[in-house]
Structures are given as C-alpha cells and as structure tokens.
C-alpha cells in the first residue's frame, strides 16, 4: 500500500476519535445524592451539551459511557454489573463521587467499597458530591482518553484509584 494511503487512514482514525469524543451517549446510573450534582452539570448553567455529552440514553445498549453516580450497595452490585455487561463496546465507565471511587465515608456491611472492585473504571471523579466543574474536568479527561485510543490504537490504561486516607 502506498505511503500516502496509510497516512490518510491514520488521519481518518483520528477524525473518528474526534467525532466520537464529542458525541458521548451517556447512561446515568444514579442511585444517590450525587445525582443532584449530575443534574446541575447537565442543565443549562454548566451545560454538558457543550462537550457533546448532553444526550443521556436510558438504555445501556445505546450508551457509550456508564456514569455511576452515587453509592452502590452489595444488593445493587449485580444490577450494575449487568448494566455494564449489556453495554456495547467500545464503552467507558466513570465513577462519579467518592462513594463510587472508594466507598467514601461508608465502611459498613452494605456498601461496595468502590465500583472498581466489580468494573473497570476509566475516570474517577472524587468529591462528596463533586462540583460541576470537577465533573466537566472528568468528562474532558474521558474525552482525552477516547481520542488517545483512536490516535494510538490502544486503549489507555485505567486510572489509578485515588488514595484513601487512613483514619
């Protein structure tokens, strides 16, 4: 294959990545108070639509990004896992709020201590709840990762789990 053709292919891939990162269909899995902050981010003041992510799909089969917003209990965990399994590749997972990142201030018999114990997480957004600015920052990080995947052909490694403070 001539050289200019392969050049064109890689540029096309990058264009695809550019298109994909600005058309994120999200599935909001909202279980707790973080949902208010999610709504604030989605509404016109912070306007998540500027980032192309303003179109929540309430079916996991049509979604690209799973936003896990709020505490996940052990009873909820199989449901969340199933939702994730139902999503078509390529898919990403955002842990929204400190409960989904590490369990947060919950340390009890009922709470999953971070959804990364059951799912691969791409972006962690800590905070209790995170401010919309942090959510947008996390969203932009996710966009970078999506673009990176199309540029290099490899999926970027999942993020490091945020450190928990030992009381």
């Amino acid at each position: 294959m001539p050289e200019h053709a392969s050049f064109l292919t890689s540029r096309l891939n990058e264009a695809l990545g550019w298109a994909r990162k600005y058309s994120i269909f999200q599935y909001p899995f909202v279980t707790a108070c973080c949902g208010m902050e999610y709504m604030a981010t989605a509404c016109s003041h912070y306007d998540v639509d500027r980032f192309g992510a303003g179109f929540p799909r309430f079916s996991p089969r049509q979604a690209d990004v799973l936003f896990v917003v709020g505490t996940i209990s052990h009873k909820m965990a199989p449901v969340l896992k199933r939702i994730h399994d139902q999503m078509a590749e390529p898919k990403w997972v955002v842990a929204f709020g400190v409960c989904t990142c590490t369990g947060g201030f919950y340390d009890n018999y009922a709470t999953v201590m971070g959804i990364d114990t059951i799912l691969p997480v791409d972006v962690y957004i800590p905070g209790c709840p995170p401010r919309p600015e942090m959510v947008l920052d996390g969203l932009m990080k996710l966009q970078d990762k999506i673009h990176e995947e199309h540029r290099t052909g490899e999926r970027p490694a999942p993020e490091e789990r945020p450190e928990t403070l030992d009381a």
Binding site: A77, D107, N108
Partner: protein, 191 residues
Amino acid sequence: MTTLIERVASRFPDAVASSHAWRGDETVVLRREGLIEAARFVKEDPDLAMNFLMDLSAVDYSAFGKGPAPAFFSSSGVAVRPTPNIPDEDPWPGPPSSERFAVVYHFFSTTHKHRLRFVVPVGEDEPEVDSLVTLWPGANWLEREVWDLFGIRFKGHPDLRRILMYEEFEGHPLRKDYPVNKRQPLIGPVN
C-alpha cells in the same frame, strides 16, 4: 379521662409487664404472649382506634451500658446523659427488661390523634414474636426488615424473607455482636 396505658393495663393485667409515659410518650411493656390480643384491642376499640401502625422496629440491648458513649456524640455538644449540674427530674426509665432484644411498635390513631408505644422484650434463645400483619398489612415489610437486620422471627408472617440485604447474606448486621468490619463478598474481590 383515663390514659391509654390505664385502658390497656386494666384490660390485660397479665400481659402488661410495666409502663411509663416518659417525656409524654405513653409506653406499655408487654409480655409477648399478650401482644396480639392487646394489639387487636387497641386497633378495634373505638376509644383507642389505633388504625395506623407508624413504625415497627427493634433494639438490641446486649451492648447497652457496657461501653462509653460514642465519641461522636460526646464531642458534638449534645448532652449524652444528664449532668449533675442540671438535675433530671424525669429520668429515663431504662431498658424495658433484662432480655436482649425489644421489639417496638408505634401506633397512631388518625381519628383521636393520639399515640401509643408497645415494647415487647424478646429473649436471645427464642427470638420470636407474633406477626401483626393480619391487623395492619403495613407491618409486612417492617417485620421483614426486623427479621433481616435483627434476626427476630415473626410467627404467622406470610412471607418472612430478607428485604434489605440479599438472600446469600449471612447473619443479621444490626445485632451488636455482628463484627463492624465484617465484609461479605457478593461478586468481585473481597473489599
């Protein structure tokens, strides 16, 4: 005008173990054999007419008085117990009995606008009381919750399954001897 306690006590002298009206909340401590009859009385008697079961819960007294008050409360500025500086003229009557558990019922009458509390002490060996589902259908899920979290059975309950925890969960997490750090894996690694 007789109080609600007097009406229950005069009707069921054998079932009532003790009673008090601490801080205005009329409370009857019942032996569990007399629970279902006394409950039917307070529901169906027109002068009491407790047509609303507000709450049904339980207490585990096994750790009561055996440790200092949690630091959270003692440092929060909330008075944990009466200080000698402010004499408490109406002290708390204390736990209902020496039994480990107590099942607590809160009744309300929407016609007379009055409340009554039943406390039924339950021993550790045979934690079982009669179900009130036949009288108040709303007791169904509340009794399932008490079974789930305290392990107290309700005799005659139509469907006594766990309601908050999942079926595979072992133990009853609100019992004071449930280890506070115990984790039970459901799926994924132990966390």
